[in-house]
C-alpha cells in the first residue's frame, strides 16, 4: 500500500526499520503495515556455492565487518533503494545479542553508510507496541533460539528472562536434509498430542520434487514427529512450553495474573500450523504439575493475535515506533555522538556514560543480571 514517504509529520524522511534475524531479515520503512522485503540473512560470494550467514557471533571483527557491510549494501541498493544518508535507522534486536555484534553493526552503519542516527529496539518490547497494551509475556520463537521475556507496564522484567536453543535451527539439525525440510515442515507439519496411549496413524507421505530431477520422499512419520523436539522436555524438564511457566514464576506475584492473560508469540518458528494450539495445550497440561500449581495461582492463559504475521510482528512494532518522528530523534544514537564517544550504549554495560548519552532497555542496571554469553567490551 503506497504510503507517501518523504513528508512525515516533522518534515523528515521516514526511517528505515531493519530486523536482522538469524535466518531471515525483514526490512522496510517506518509507518507501513508490513516489511517491504523478507530476505534470507546470508550473502553469496561469487566464487562460493554456499552462502555465508550474516548473523554470526563467533567470527572476528574484520570478517564480520566485511560481511555486514556487504549485506547492508544489498539491503539499501537492491531492495530499499534509498540513500542511506537521508534516513534514520531503527534496528530490531534481541536483548541477548552480543555487544561485539552490535558494535560492529553500528560501525558499519555509521562509518560506511553515514546514516544520521541508529536506534536499537528490543524485539519483545516492539511486539507489544503492535497491540496497544502495556504488559505481556512475549515469547520469540526464532531460528537459533526461543526467548521469553515478560514486560510489565512497558518495562521488561529482565531478571525473568528464559531462553532455550530450540528454534528452527534445532529442527534443521535433526533432519537429514536441511532447509528443504524446513520449508516442507512449515507447509505441512502436523501435531498430535503425545502422551496419549498409542501413537495415532502418521499422516500420508509426501513426494517433494527437488531441483526438477530428484524427488525427495518424506515419510509421514517424519512430518509429524520432527516438531516434537520443541515440546519434549529435556533433562532439566525444559521445553518451549515450560519456559513460559518458568518465566512467570520468576516474575513478581502481582504481575503474574496480568502476564498470564496476555501471552504474545512472535517469530518465524511460531508460524508453523498448529503451533499455537499445541503451545496452549501444553501450557495447560504443565501447569497442573506440582512444580507450578503450588506457585502459580491463576490458571488462565490467553493469547493475543497481533495485526501481523508472527515473523513480522517485531518489525511492525519497530515501524510504528519509527513513525514517531517527534521522539525518534531524541532516543536514537546520532552519528555525532557516536563519533565522539566511539561506542554505543548497551544495557548491560555498567560504565557510567556522560550525561548526554542514552540508555538502552531496562532501568538502570538491574541487580540480578544473568548473562547468557560473555559480553566482550
Amino acid at each position: 500500500m503506497p504510503i507517501f514517504d518523504g513528508l512525515g509529520s516533522g518534515g523528515e524522511k521516514t526511517a528505515i526499520v531493519i530486523d536482522l534475524g538469524a535466518a531471515y531479515t525483514k526490512c522496510g520503512f517506518a509507518g507501513e503495515t508490513g516489511p517491504r522485503f523478507i530476505i534470507p540473512s546470508e550473502i553469496r560470494k561469487p566464487g562460493q556455492q554456499q552462502a555465508t550467514k550474516v548473523v554470526q557471533y563467533n567470527i572476528n571483527t574484520e570478517e564480520l565487518y566485511a560481511i555486514l557491510k556487504e549485506f547492508i549494501h544489498i539491503l539499501y541498493f537492491r531492495h530499499l533503494l534509498v540513500n542511506p544518508r537521508d534516513r534514520r535507522v531503527v534496528i530490531i534486536e534481541s536483548i541477548l545479542c552480543p555487544s561485539h555484534f552490535r558494535e560492529t553493526l553500528t560501525k558499519v552503519f555509521f562509518k560506511q553508510f553515514e546514516v544520521p542516527s541508529v536506534l536499537f529496539a528490543p524485539s519483545h518490547l516492539m511486539a507489544i507496541m503492535t497491540l496497544g497494551i502495556n504488559s505481556a509475556l512475549v515469547m520469540d520463537c526464532g531460528y537459533t533460539e526461543t526467548l521469553v521475556l515478560p514486560i510489565y507496564e512497558c518495562t521488561p522484567i529482565l531478571p525473568a528472562w528464559e531462553a532455550l536453543p530450540l528454534g528452527g535451527k534445532a529442527i534443521h539439525k535433526t533432519c537429514f536434509v536441511s532447509d528443504l525440510q524446513r520449508g516442507l515442515q512449515i507447509q505441512e507439519a502436523k501435531f498430535n498430542l503425545e502422551g496419549t496411549a498409542e501413537r495415532p496413524a502418521p499422516p500420508p507421505d509426501v513426494d517433494y520434487p527437488l531441483d526438477g530431477e530428484k524427488i525427495l520422499h518424506v515419510k509421514g512419520s517424519i512430518r509429524d514427529s520432527v516438531m516434537e523436539i520443541l515440546f519434549e522436555q529435556d533433562n532439566e524438564e525444559k521445553s518451549v512450553a515450560s519456559m513460559i511457566l518458568d518465566a512467570l514464576v520468576k516474575c513478581p506475584i502481582d504481575t503474574r495474573k496480568v502476564l498470564s492473560e496476555n501471552l504474545v508469540v512472535i517469530g518465524g518458528t511460531a508460524m508453523l500450523p498448529g503451533f499455537l494450539h499445541r503451545l496452549l495445550a501444553e501450557i495447560r497440561l504443565l501447569v497442573e504439575k506440582p512444580k507450578y500449581s503450588d506457585v502459580l495461582a491463576s490458571k488462565n492463559f490467553r493469547i493475543h493475535s497481533p495485526p501481523a504475521k508472527p515473523s513480522c510482528t517485531a518489525w511492525l512494532g519497530g515501524a510504528i515506533f519509527g513513525a514517531l518522528q517527534d521522539i525518534l530523534g531524541s532516543r536514537s544514537v546520532s552519528r555525532d555522538h557516536y563519533n565522539q564517544t566511539g561506542r554505543i550504549p548497551d544495557w548491560c554495560c555498567l560504565s557510567s556514560p556522560p550525561p548526554e548519552s542514552f540508555y538502552e532497555a531496562g532501568k538502570t542496571p538491574p541487580p540480578l543480571m544473568k548473562r547468557a554469553y560473555s559480553m566482550e567490551k
Binding site: 521488561p156 497481533p306 532501568k363
Partner: protein, 424 residues
Amino acid sequence: MHAESFFFCCCLWKCVCVRRRSTVASLLRRRCANCFDCPCCMHTLSTRATNIPAPLADDPTKTTMKKAYYLACGFCRWTSRDVGMADKSVASGGWQEPENPHAQRISKLIEYYQQLAHREKQERDRKKMARRRQCMPLAFSEKYGLGTRLQRQRPGAPISALAGLSLKEGEDQKEITIEPAQALDEVEPLPEDCYTRPISLPEVTTLRQRLLQPDFQPAGASQLHPRHKHLLMKRSLRCRKCEHNLSKPEFNPTSIKFKIQLVAVSYIPEVRIMSIPNLRHTKESQVLLTLTNPVENVTHVTLAACEEEDPDDVNSTAKVLVPSKELVLAGKDAAAEYDELAEPQDFQDDPDIVAFRKSNKIGFFIKVIPQKEDDSDVTVTFRMRHDFRNLTAPVRPSEDGGDAAPEAIWLTHHVELRLGPLAP
C-alpha cells in the same frame, strides 16, 4: 566513495529524478506502476487480451465482443484467472494489489502513539525551559537532573515514559484512545483432516513465494496475488572529498552518448596490404603496402625490423626488409578533392620505396623472404614509429605567452601482417 542514487525503471517508463521531492506514489513505493511480477516464478507478467461476449449497454439482448484483459506469465503459465482475479476492461491500471486487512488498526495505533510521543516532546521541552530558569546548587541539580534525564531518556523502554503521561488541563486536544487488543482464550486447532489428507504440493506455496508478499504470506497457491515489479536502481558515484561526479548513469539507455575522444583509429596511421605477389620459399618478393594518415597534420613514420629478442615477435615466419628512410605523410584534408587549385605538395619520394602518393596516403614496398615451408600463412612483423600530437588535451598557456603547439610524442607500434600462403 559514497553513492547517491536515483531510479531507473524496468520497462523504460518515464521516470522522474528523485532528487526533487516527488510525490508520485508508485515511484515512492519503488515499484513500477504498470508491470507486475508473477507470484510463482517471479518473471514479468504480460497482459493478454481475449474477446468475451458481453451484453451491450443499451440493448441487453444483443451481445458484442468486448476485450477483456488478464495477466499471464510466459514462463510458468500462471494467469491471473488462477487466483480468481477478474478480467479487467482496461489494459493497464486496472489491477490493484490487495490491501493488508490490518492496515486500519495499524494506522490507529500509529496515531495513538504519535499523540503520546507528542506529549513526551512537549514535556521534555517544558522541562528544558524550566531547568534553565532554575538555579539550584550544583550537587543537587546534578543528582536531580541526572535522575530525570535517565528516567526519561531510555530508548529501550520507550513506552514507559509514553504511558505515564496524562492529559494536562488546559490542553484541549481530543484524546485519541485506543482499544487494547483482546487476548483469546482458545486458538483454532488444526483441522482434523490435516492428519489424513494427502498434500498436493502444487497448491502449497514455497517459502520464497510466500516471503515475496510479507503482508499476507499465503499458504495456499490460490491466494498468491501478483505484486508490482520492483524497480532497479542505478547508482551515481561521487568522490567523497571533492564531490566530483565519477560515474553518472543516464535515465534512458538510448540517450547514452559515446564520449570517448581518443580512439586509436583516428590517430594512428593505418597500414593496409595492397598487393601481394607470389611468395616462394626463401625467395625475395616485393609486397605493396599503403599507409594512410588519419590526422590533419603531417606525420612522419619510420619503419624498423623487429629485434631478435622482441617479445611481441612470435608469429613471423618470414624475414622482412623495410625501407629505412623516414616516410612523410601529408595531412588529411577533407576539402582536397574539391579544391582543384591546391598545389600538390612536393615530398621528393624515392621511387624505389614509394610507389605512389595520393593526398594522405602513400604506397610503399617491403621485401619479404618467407622462411618456413609449411602450409601456414606467411606472417611478417615490423615496428612502426610515428609522431602523435594530442590535440584534444587542453592547451596550457606556455610561459612565453605564445600559442605553443602540442608536443609531438613518438609512439612505436608492433605491426603484424598476414600475407597468405606460399604460392604452390
